[in-house]
């Protein structure tokens, strides 16, 4: 009885470690194949379109609504202290430092990461990857690398758009709706938000999250069990694992940076 339990436990652990090892080896293969990618070539442009451009809509809408809610909630809290002038600072700091990179990464995993996993997984199910190998085309070079690079590049750009639109959303609610002084909104923001410390650190966060989200998405697709169920599991895993990884890394990065 206990032996069976221990065996199960051991098997789960070994499977997890083996998956991590496969993930790292896969990453090495991707990095090794990276120089073969032509920047500006049709493969990469097509992928940036489907990963980045098509995510713009959800990123813009979420950024706007998050910024507006921040403006509304922040105002209610700050007005008690007569400090509603600091609304701009509060909105901008929380967006640039935390919400921008983290929420973009979570949305990105749901919108683009899952699509990448499903696409690559289905290619595996329908044996397109094997067919490529038969034709001496390296699927890592042809399929994985453009998608990985596109996701990695798109993530920081989307995070920047999210933060900028969020600040504008906070501005609309704070200044337009609730009557905070427009000059005080921007000047308080500018005097308290530091470019090197806040904005660049937020940018570094989004780069790290982009790497993690891209890595998990393409690896899960490539590693999926080639059945219908396997692909569906892999897609779910992409979203869940990216969320865990991003939230955990966010804590570590915040502790190191600020």
């Amino acid at each position: 009885m206990i032996a069976t339990l221990l065996q199960d436990f051991g098997r789960v652990t070994l499977t997890a470690i083996a998956r991590m090892g496969r993930g790292n080896l896969f990453m090495l293969r991707v990095l090794h194949a990276l120089p073969s990618l032509r920047f500006g070539g049709p493969l990469l442009v097509q992928q940036i379109y489907s990963v980045g451009v098509l995510s713009l809509q959800i990123i813009a809408v979420s950024g706007l609504s998050v910024g507006m809610v921040l403006g509304l909630q922040g105002y209610n809290m700050l007005v008690d202290f007569g400090a509603e002038q600091s609304l701009g600072q509060a909105t901008a700091l929380s967006l640039v430092r935390e919400l921008g990179p983290v929420l973009t990464a979570l949305l990105f995993a749901g919108r683009a990461g899952s699509a990448l996993t499903a696409e690559i997984g289905l290619m595996k199910v329908t044996e397109q990857l094997s067919a490529m190998e038969m034709m001496a085309v390296d699927p890592v070079k042809r399929i994985i690398v453009p998608r990985f690079v596109a996701a990695f590049l798109s993530m920081p750009m989307l995070a920047a758009i999210f933060s900028a639109i969020g600040v504008l959303g906070g501005y609309f609610v704070g200044v337009g709706l609730l009557g905070v002084d427009s000059g005080a909104f921007w000047s308080q923001m500018q005097s308290k938000v530091n470019f090197g410390e806040d904005i660049l650190n937020g940018f570094v966060k989004s780069i790290v999250f982009g790497l993690v989200a891209a890595w998990i998405a393409v690896f899960e697709g490539y590693d999926a069990v080639p059945t219908t169920e396997g692909v569906s599991r892999a897609t779910t895993r992409t979203v869940v694992e990216t969320a865990f990884a991003v939230l955990g890394l966010d804590f570590i990065l915040t502790a190191v940076m600020f």
Partner: protein, 159 residues
């Protein structure tokens, strides 16, 4: 399949929009634009105590923002705080006998340097030093003095 030209246009605009967002974050949200080093001249003031003054704190005259604190250093010979003030070039008619003081904005606000103009015909130039500088009020010192005075007052009353 979507037209290739259209895809490239979309990707191009995506990159442009994200660059615009980055520029907006840099210029409009943070203080990168307000903190340019050109168009300013530096003067210095020596304080016995700068309290909680920070680099990049505002410098004001008559309540108007005219510059920023560029650096705060300790003079290791005289144990004074040397505060370098970067003043905007627009305000280059500040009299030589202007005095400086470290004030606090409100009860809990940040500390800033306030300049009080004098009446000299000559003006402060790059590298000049402000002669009269009033230190920051440190709350603990004032409280200490207050308690000390109150105690001394008690003694005198008892006499």
């Amino acid at each position: 399949m979507i037209n290739k030209r259209w895809v490239e246009i979309a990707v191009g605009s995506f990159v442009v929009i994200s660059l615009a967002a980055m520029v907006m974050l840099a210029m409009r949200v943070s203080n990168l634009s307000a903190f340019s080093t050109d168009g300013v001249y530096e003067i210095e003031a020596r304080f016995h105590n700068v309290g909680g003054l920070k680099v990049r704190a505002p410098v004001t005259m008559a309540g108007v923002h005219i510059g920023r604190v560029a650096a705060i250093e300790l003079d290791s010979q005289r144990f004074d705080a040397v505060v370098k003030l970067a003043i905007d070039d627009k305000f280059n008619h500040i009299p030589l006998d202007t005095s400086a003081a470290v004030f606090t904005a409100g009860l809990l606000g940040e500390q800033y340097v306030a300049l009080e103009p004098g009446g000299d015909e000559k003006f402060l130039k790059q590298g000049d030093r402000i002669r009269i500088a009033q230190s920051a009020m440190v709350m603990e010192q004032i409280l200490g003095q207050f308690i000390f005075n109150a105690a001394a007052g008690d003694k005198e009353n008892k006499k």
